[in-house]
């Protein structure tokens, strides 16, 4: 569905269902440089299992008009504006990588609007290496390569994709190539600069990939210690791209966490 926010067109995938007032709502928030289709399987599942689904394209990504928002706080506020616009009082937020920081920030500063958060491939702080930031700043294609290769477990280019016939590297690169110049750098910088303010009281699920080289499980430790009401699911064979690399494990963890 398309919505108008701050005079700009924004897109939210709803799994071909109209929103219904009586249903619980879950919002999926993608990572740096990507779009709503990162959560294609998982968002579709919830859309067909009694949930209002909003898999968002953040400003400047996918079908949503730009420019990108420069800080995690601005993105979290934007997500809450989406909820306002659609008269959704409270929602579960599921974020991947940068999206997990957005969910985290929204839960800290808009606690009354957030029921639970699921943080997929999260690290805190989410420090981005200088070569990666620099390549993205220069809109150098090397940044897309770093995003793609570090964004998946090492066996991905040599292993089988759970999604038959698809090449995960190719899909990641194709999505990055659609970005306007500067968007990836803006996202990476926002992630790198994010500092959590406030506390998170709602239930939190961490879904981490044991083979994640971008946000390895140990990089979530600081956050785990901060968030007492949390649980962790580890996907043994997955890297950073959990929704594609370990789609069933990710979905099963979300289904259990969101069970009402």
């Amino acid at each position: 569905m398309e919505i108008l926010l701050q005079d700009k067109k924004a897109f939210a995938y709803t799994a071909a269902h109209a929103l219904e007032a009586g249903k619980p709502s879950v919002v999926f928030i993608h990572g740096a440089g990507l779009d709503h289709s990162s959560f294609a399987l998982q968002s579709r599942y919830f859309g067909y299992h009694g949930w209002n689904v909003l898999a968002l394209d953040l400003p400047g990504h996918g079908r949503s008009e730009g420019p990108p928002l420069a800080t995690i706080a601005a993105m979290a506020d934007w997500v809450v504006e989406v909820l306002d616009q659609l008269n959704i009082e409270k929602a579960v937020l599921v974020g991947h990588s940068m999206g997990s920081l957005i969910a985290l920030d929204a839960a800290a500063r808009h606690a009354q609007r957030v029921e639970k958060i699921a943080l997929v491939a999260v690290a805190y702080p989410m420090k981005v290496t200088e070569p990666f930031l620099d390549a993205a700043r220069r809109n150098d294609l090397a940044a897309f390569d770093m995003h793609t290769i570090w964004g998946h477990a090492a066996q991905v280019p040599l292993g089988g994709n759970p999604n038959p016939g698809m090449w995960m590297y190719g899909d990641n690169l194709a999505r990055l190539r659609r970005l306007a110049p500067g968007v990836l750098h803006s996202d990476l910088k926002a992630s790198n600069d994010f500092v959590l303010s406030g506390t998170v009281q709602c239930p939190v699920l961490f879904i981490l990939g044991k083979r994640d080289v971008m946000t390895p499980p140990r990089a979530a430790q600081v956050l785990l210690e901060k968030l007492s009401n949390s649980k962790v699911e580890i996907a043994e064979l997955s890297g950073h791209g959990l929704m594609g690399e370990a789609p069933d494990a990710t979905l099963d963890a979300l289904v259990a966490f969101l069970r009402r």
Binding site: S37, A40, Y45, Q155, L158, G159, P164, G165, P247
Partner: protein, 430 residues
Amino acid sequence: MAGPKYPGFDTLALHAGQSPDPATGSRAVPIYQTTSYVFRDTEHAASLFNMERAGHVYSRISNPTVAVLEERMAALEGGVGAIATASGQAALHLAVATLMGAGSHIVASGSLYGGSHNLLAYTLKRFGIDTTFVLPKPENFRKAIRDDTRLLFGETLGNPGLDVLDIPAVSAIAHAAKLPLLVDATFTTPYLMKPFDLGADLLYHSATKFLGGHGTAIGGVLVDSGRFDWEASGKFETLTAPYSGFHNMDFEEESGTRAFLLRARREGLRDFGACMAPMTAFQILQGIETLHLRMPRHVENTRKVVAFLKNNSFVDRVIYPELPEHPDHELARKLLPLGCGAVFSFEIKGGRAAGKRFIESLRVFSHLANVGDAKSLVIHPATTTHYRMSDEDLKKAGITAGTVRLSVGLEDAQDLIDDLDRSLKAAAKA
């Protein structure tokens, strides 16, 4: 700090798409000779059918062995994914049927494999899809585009005159008109050319040819670059409007980069059913594992054979883009630096009778309707692969009564030259 590195072509050719079988540890790709897959429970079944979980339901739609081939080809071509089909012709049909219906138009190179020409000129016309054939020069494509055009199409190396498709120029024309460019990359394989890097949006192979290389299995593979913006084009309702045949799915909304393959698999394989058999996928994978070793040898042998024929007094003309007199020589140097493949034509002196005697005198070259085998092959296009074409279309495709097409294999090059030498001498007496 050194940046991360992608696996090289040779490594991908051997590994992409398959990790050792988790159930058995099998290093080789297992042949999953099964039609269907047991569901964990009814909920799991429903989720697979509705694309909420990844996995296999029925081997017409997907199969684990076939999926290895698909992923490997997507990796080698730099695409988002691929669909393996029953033949190269099925891949072309799947591409067209996914993009358009009756009332649509294609601009195609006139230098096409005869089977592709038949499909476009006669069969698809019966289903309301019209094709304009052009000499494969960029400007001709531009001039032939109409309001109802939905696709530009050509072969990376045209059949049989080896016109080199100027993919950068033709794709720029296609994209300016908000249209995709589809190429048949059979003759070049991903080893000699990467069409997506040059601007093509979709490509397919007759996997029967160099990919398999052994002449034992018929198959095709259709690969999507994921780069064409179907939504922005506004010309592809099959991908951008709700499809009542699959839960009102808007494929582009589902995923911009995967929309084409989603529809091709969920509709095209489901309804037309031209899927690849797992045994075929296994055989073609065996070929791909040595593609990077075979293609340089194919090219090396071809260069030796071309050099021999070029200096032979019984030969009128050799048509190979690496020769300076070929009209696309400069373009070939630019787009095909590793070589122009192993299929080429020459014109024998003495016309049809000499051609007949020549072919019947060959002992190492096999006279048959195929190319891209490890064994050397020969055919006379005017009486076989292109026999349905009118004289005018034959002329457009650069074929005469004396044209002989060779597919140079991996034998000892001197044995091939000796075979040709002896047969040309026999033909001269015809």
